[in-house]
Amino acid sequence: MKKSVFLGALTVAGLTAGAAAAATLDDVKARGTLNCGVTTGLVGFAAPDSNGNWDGFDVGVCRAVAAAVLGDPQAVEFVPTTGKTRFTALASGEIDMLARNTTWTFSRDVDLKFEFVGVNYYDGQGFMVPKELGVSSAKDLDGATVCIQTGTTTELNLADYFRKNSMNYEPVPIETNAEAQQQYLAGACDVYTTDASGLAATRAAFEDPSAHVLLPEIVSKEPLGPLVRHGDNEWGDVVRWTLNALIAAEELGVTSANIADMASAAGDSPEINRLLGTEGNLGEMLGLEADWAVKAISAGGNYGELFEKNIGETTPIGLARGLNAQWTDGGLLYSPPFR
């Protein structure tokens, strides 16, 4: 560890990459806070509110992990990262986990040596255009100028999509969502493309959201999920099963409202009992308290509650559950059993 501390000052482009390999769980416990990488600001997913408190769907995952590990959902240090800086920040140990609508891809998992612990939002890349352009399909975008966040998978999907359909476009690479929004609204680009959820969140922040339409085409698969460094399996397990606990809680009907009741004594359902620690020793296996999942779920509610509160249909972002419904409701969310 000493080495990495010494080199911290001299970090030149990941000189210390991988120095902080093992025992992230111990580090987090010793530090008393969780360093969680999030976006620089995407309403609904991760953005500071008027009081400076981070709030959002991805933030909910960070808070759940902090609650499970440290018992306090507020014990999170949020580190805003751009599409470019996020992986360096995680690899160098600056952050313990990254919950920043990051797409799970083969090369990120295998070549960049990260471990995606699951999917918290099944997304796909879409296009947004001003209504006055009269465009109804992405196939009509030949010759358009497209704003795109650099360093993302969307950049590659965009190139592939236009090449496949023999269309031309002019890319305008942008660093952050806020800059992209400004360029798009100034008319410096005709189209803004990113994950459909991100487009909905961006549009919700516009002065007149109804003047912009999302095109029906979804041109890629973007499974977004939290990730940790490769090689620290204990820490990976903690984050993975915290996410699964949130998903399983919704499936099993455990909500922030009834969890105190359910956790007070062992009930009829053995799986709920194991999840909430009133039976078995799952918490101990993870190296956490027996009621780790209770704390995680109490932090912001189960998956469904987090979704509805931050990005659901009642919010300005207004996303339907769609693919992100429980498998029992025809969606893709499917937590492995707690046993």
Partner: protein
Amino acid sequence: MTTLTDPPQESFRPSMLLNDTRYRSYTFQFIALIVLISIIAYLGYNLVLNLRAAGLNISYEFLGEPAGYDINQTLVEYTSRSSHLTAAIVGILNTLLVAFLACATATIFGVIAGVLRLSNNWLVRKLMAGYVEAFRNVPVLIWIIIIFTIMTAVLPAPRAFRGEDADASMILGSIAFTNRGVYVPMPIWGPGSMVVVVTFILSIVGVFAYRAYAKKLLFDTGKLLPMGWPSLAILFVPSILMFFIMGQPISLDYPELGGFNFSGGLQIGAPLIALWFALSIYTGAFIAENVRAGILAVSKGQTEAAASLGLRPRRIMNLVILPQALRVIIPPLISQYLNITKNSSLAIAVGYADITATLGGITLNQTGRAIECVLLLMLFYLLISLGISAVMNVYNNAVRLKER
């Protein structure tokens, strides 16, 4: 009887390394060198160790793989299927382009502002002082963003040009200023156009020849030939004649509004303009101070001597002061050129695809090869900086005071 003997030859003792001033400095330099080498070796070893621990290696194989992303301004053939190496070359050319353009305009701005700062006119002098202080005291990144934001906010979008009574119209029907860049007509070189180009180049040579002849005539006989209109005539008349003789081989491709954007013509992208202009005015302010310093370094006696010979103020500046001032101006000018080249790496702030944005940005991100990419970037900037220094030093040697 006295005998002269050599002073006793002191044999070398190890303690002299510290006690003897002749050797002491070498000792400390040697120790410092050893410390430096061990620190670098330690860092390198740590890097290798950490990379191995993370299961990573150093490899440049990714340069041959398809880049997968598109670039908005490419001086050479490039598609998203081209390799990362091609993307890097596109970036290098874009860096060189903006650096060259900015060096040229910054020099012009700098010389004009530097000379005018010494003007006898109070208003002009103060205006130039204001320019210098305003621009060199605000970081260049801020200027780049300000200029780009003004361009995108003030200039109309291409769609404003559409319709019968459009909000915006093209200047002279051929130049469109939009918030995505300036569209100008592009020459199309038809067969036989090379003859016209060659004629034009010969005309340029001809102008210099005429000027050299006129100067010689002036020095030999004192006869003053007119300079202005014959130069212009030599420059343009033969080319225009040849243009019509060859049957107008060069035509213009006008930009036209089609679909979302203007098509045809030549697009000078808004990012390039913003970056170019910002680098020029920012560095121009520094160059202005260099020029002022150079002029003030020339003794006042030179001006007075030239004036007493009857030279007009403009000639005094061009023939007496500036040639001597160049000696003082050139060395700091070299470092300003290097600054422009290095500052051009801020390009990504406005989405200009320079080498830092392609190799050091998107490629680095998509491949995750941070160390390899940054090493390549360092090598490139080192080479280009040394190259500029070498060229400018040759020029410096040409203008410096000749000692005979």
